[in-house]
Symmetry: C2
Subunit: 373 residues, 2 copies
């Protein structure tokens, strides 16, 4: 039986790039922030090899922005995350875990500081806008919280910088990792950051205005013909190899940032006023009892992980449930299944042998550090 | 080219019924509240005819519940909606528009009053949990706001009552429209409401516990064999014929309840303390300048509406943009295209001739009242 198709309605929002994505022959989508996110063009494996060798243009408009501006903007943004934002400069991006009052992950976005009283939160897959609007209303703070007409377009892969320099000029080469600057395109100014959901290097263009989507897409495709530029999207294999986590897959509201290995982004002691501080101070003091790890799973390729796969480990001679795998893919370059899961302290040491109950049968596996490559 | 498939990962949550849905041969899904929602089994048209004649079991686990309990629960719930909740009894369901401070629609859920200090909000497709949690935190009110392990299973169609009586007993026949009562299933008690996203009559079983999903599904399927029970899902044709709106498709944050024809659910004058009251009092006084209407679109079947289709109407001898179609389908029973759209006051009178720019060409159309049938 063929894979179920996706019924597309207006509720599954199209993006400023959707017509180009369709013309490029998209074969599969996922839905992210109520929006289409292309996942496959040729095949997951072919797209993966291409991404690691050339350059791809990704429609990641689904990385919606929550814009916060006004007198209380800085205070509100600090309330949203346990990361200390006093060191965040204008033109800088911070990866910021956001948690509820119990320390449970609500989103793991990238925060952009546009000015002293204006921020964009470039969000993962949950309606963070609702959380921020609810807080602002309840607190009666002086901020405006909106979703602007801004749609990121990512350019990823080893040739990304060369392609970007052709379209936006040589100065793009000077943009440092997780920094952004405004660049001109046909009289419009887009913030462009050196960032993206791959480990191949690249940029994210914050296309400011739906009407400009197709012109930017077309310019990149024209300029990159000899670089073998193609349409692409976040690649399951590459992102697991690179240890990039997916909110909703590898972490949910059930997890603290510390469980997700994001403790280094939690300055719980100094981020006074942040939501979840009481709970996280306790976690920071005691440490988590389970944490995200990589796992290699033996045998031939496993199917995608659609529901968590139980991980069993030996404890006093018996097999016990000690975690779950949340993402998995066959890695052609590493010639093994790579996966991400959450593993109990008793078994999280890299090298520990465990078994995983996959839909393709029970497999032996080994705990690993992330990233794999 | 075949329709793009849906890449399913853990982030696109499976439901307690997903294995049964797959076994029933689901052909298409949509994603709703980060969860799989089956849309097609045989074909949209075949499923439609079956729904209007027999009985279907629908996996609508994606109608997630936001549970609010605690001393300030009633006060908080009233704050969430302009509908006056003083008349809502325990065991009753209310359809409640929920808006932000500007009167923009955030969700159009069904509210269930479980007890004096405990409610379920059965939500449409947006993370209302985040809005409610944000408000509760900002206000420091004494409430707990969670997503319980509750997954609605709908039984819809003209034979729904007969099937339900076989599984849950004859008393189910006494449950009135938009009322719910607890019914026993293998020693567990489920709230069952006479409700659902079709106009064919039926019930929604609030399955309380993931493990009970498959047993309930199986019992219904076994008991309904001679009633020709089948797996189904919300049907695009039937719901448009019936004038049922879809949040995200037919209305968004850009719309007030009055624009959506939901003014009758807004007791803005008496619902003191509700969010958006200032904005909605103004709208209620002046009336909206555009409103949701039905439209019949001439010619053969149009494709699904994935982005709004412009509606043009005559104004001083010129064609002007006067609205947009947001959902459309060919209705076999009415032998025309039925659609839902938002139409400017100047052209919203039923019977008005307009034109619609569809992907299948410009078509003549007529404004209609909802529902169509």
């Amino acid at each position: 039986m063929s894979a179920p198709s996706l019924s597309i309605t207006r509720r599954i929002r199209s993006t400023p790039f959707s017509r180009r994505v369709e013309a490029a022959g998209v074969k599969a989508y996922t839905v992210y922030n109520h929006m289409l996110l292309p996942t496959v063009f040729e095949s997951v494996e072919a797209d993966y090899h291409h991404l690691k060798r050339h350059v791809q243009v990704w429609d990641v408009a689904c990385e919606r922005q929550v814009e916060i501006r006004g007198r209380d903007a800085t205070r509100l943004v600090q309330m949203l995350t346990p990361r200390d934002l006093r060191k965040l400069s204008i033109g800088q991006c911070f990866y910021v875990p956001m948690v509820d009052e119990t320390g449970g992950m609500l989103n793991d976005p990238v925060l952009l500081k546009l000015s002293e009283d204006r921020y964009w939160i470039s969000i993962a897959d949950s309606d963070l806008l609702y959380w921020v609007k609810g807080l602002a209303y309840g607190l009666h703070w002086e901020v405006d919280v909106i979703e602007p007409d801004v749609s990121p377009l990512a350019v990823q892969g080893p040739k990304a910088e060369d392609l970007m320099a052709r379209v936006f000029g040589e100065a793009i080469r000077n943009v440092k990792f997780f920094r952004f600057e405004p660049f001109e395109f046909d009289g419009h100014w887009f913030n462009i950051a050196r960032s993206g959901y791959s480990k191949q290097g690249g940029f994210e263009i914050y296309v400011d205005g739906t009407k400009l989507g197709e012109p930017v897409w077309d310019r990149l495709m024209e300029a990159g013909q000899d670089l073998e530029v193609r349409a692409g999207g976040p690649n399951m294999i590459e992102r697991i190899e690179g240890g990039l986590l997916s909110y909703g897959s590898d972490m949910t509201r059930a997890n603290t940032p510390h469980e997700c290995g994001l403790g280094r982004f939690c300055d719980t002691f100094t981020a006074i006023g942040c939501i979840g501080r009481d709970a996280l101070l306790r976690v920071a003091a005691e440490g988590p009892v389970r944490q995200i790890r990589g796992l290699t799973i033996d045998g031939d390729g496993v199917p995608p992980c659609t529901t968590p796969w139980p991980i069993y480990g030996e404890e006093d001679g018996e097999d016990e449930l000690i975690g779950m795998v949340t993402s998995a893919a066959w890695s052609p370059d590493l010639a093994t299944n790579v996966s991400v899961g959450i593993v109990r302290m008793t078994h999280w040491k890299p090298g520990t042998s465990v078994t995983v109950e996959t839909p393709a049968g029970v497999r032996t596996a080994k705990v690993r550090t992330l990233p794999f490559a």
